[in-house]
């Protein structure tokens, strides 16, 4: 019995020795390392800025009288990390009805913006991150001849900004840019 155990012990030690020898004929070391590689997609974000003088335009609106002019400075800021082309649509309504341009006049900036004649005003150059456009308009003038039928009405100037990336989207003019988002 004792001899049998001794034999097992010897076999175990021989196996250990073989293991050591086998090991020495293999690679000295083998190392596994894992890399978790990450891809992230960018985004474009813009913010419409409306000012009255140097303050924010009041959310509740302002009272206006025929013949008066109201300060309303409209611009758009790139608040994302990527540059974009920009176009803006204005929807002017009085109690949900379209307003005649004879009744209300905006001093549109035609130096930095292009009237695309398709309902959009296009900013001439791509807007870089953190940059702000020149003002699209700075004031709203109500015609002096407005009668009592216009009193107590609510005029809304809704501003819709549409942006599309300018990287890998070269164009000689913003009017030729493709990939604009669908109108809301």
């Amino acid at each position: 019995m004792r001899r049998k155990k001794l034999l097992i012990l010897l076999i175990a030690m021989a196996a250990a020795l073989v293991t050591l020898l086998t090991q020495s004929s293999l690679a000295f070391y083998s190392i596994l390392g894992e890399a978790t590689n990450v891809i992230t997609s960018g985004q474009i974000k813009c913010k419409i800025i409306e000012k009255m003088g140097n303050a924010d335009f009041p959310a509740e609106g302002v009272y206006i009288l025929p013949g008066s002019t109201v300060s309303k400075k409209v611009s758009v800021k790139n608040v994302g990390e990527n540059p974009f082309w920009l176009r803006v649509k204005l929807k002017n309504t009085m109690d949900n009805s379209t307003i005649s341009s004879d009744f209300m006049e905006l001093d549109l900036n035609k130096t930095d913006w292009i009237d695309g004649k398709d309902g959009f005003f296009y900013y001439k150059k791509p807007l870089e991150p953190e940059a702000e456009t020149e003002k699209l308009f700075t004031q709203v003038k109500i015609a002096g001849g407005a009668d009592n039928g216009h009193s107590g009405k609510t005029i809304k100037i809704a501003i819709y900004a549409y942006a599309v990336q300018s990287e890998y989207n070269d164009a000689s003019s913003p009017l030729n840019v493709t990939g604009w988002p669908a109108e809301s």
Binding site: A12, A27, F28, I31, G33, I39, T40, S41, N169
Partner: protein, 344 residues
Amino acid sequence: MNKIKKIVSIFICAVMIFGCLPLASFAKDANVTYSGNSGKLIFKPGSNHSPTDLFANFKNVMPGASLTQKITVKNKAKNNVKVKIYLRSLGSTDEKYNDFLNQLTLTVTEDTDTPLFDAAVDQTGGLTEWVCLGTLYSGGELDLNVTLNVPTTLDNQYQNQIGKIKWQFVIDELPIKKPTWKCPVNEKHSYHIEEIDGISTFVCDDCDSREPMKCDECGGNMRRAAVVITGGKTYHVYPDGNRHYVTKDGKTHFYVNEKNIIDYYTVGDKKIDIKNVSEYKFYDFYECVDNEHHHTDPRPPQTGDPTHIYLWLLLFIIFIAVAMIIATRKRKIGKDGGEERAKC
């Protein structure tokens, strides 16, 4: 007049240097570094999303982009060791990333035109199985060029998305062995190694015995060669009549005249002087004639560390042996004690 010219030259140089700076800092290179002695692999640069992130240039990607990422694998082991480097991809780390990653395509190439990987990012493609990237000697480097293509069809739903893929690297560190031989006539005979018909052959100094040197891995014939590492790149140097040619990955890069190579077959602090090579590291070695097998063999172990597996096995056997010895001794003591008690 000369002074004006000098000022203008300095100004132009300054403009050129500073003009290049933004370009240089835009593309970030990534590194996988092995420092030897079974140390961990170090992945740089990492990112906020993952400390082992190698895709530094693939952040904030936009539709239409085609971006590249150079990944350099470096063997910085101090001792003269060669390592084999293997790579495989496990694909996307989570199913939630698949939709986004499936929109993008990735190409991974080494120095050859044939890509190692060319598929959608969430796939494992040509990197499903281990791929041997090559053998690197201490100080050597190899480059992987990764290109990410983002289609213009990637629409708004994929804005501000994130996707993660896992790559595994394995480094097998191998010793640079000095070939030895025993003369079959008499083991005590001295011998030298000769290149006979381009094959490294053991030749006995005392009798006519000779035997071609055989590759440990495939049994193929061996040839004497040298490895020159310069600028992080590893080149092989082979004799060719009275000149030598320098190759990398099977492609001949340049020829060197014999007179420009000094004792390059001798291991040690001998010099090698190759034209156009200013700094170098030099390793003498024998290489299988069918060198391609080094690049195509699949990695045998699929997971874990084979050295550790053997060590655990060894420890287990030792444990069994020690346990048996203790058990035998205890039984003996018990038996003796029993006899004592019987006597009482």
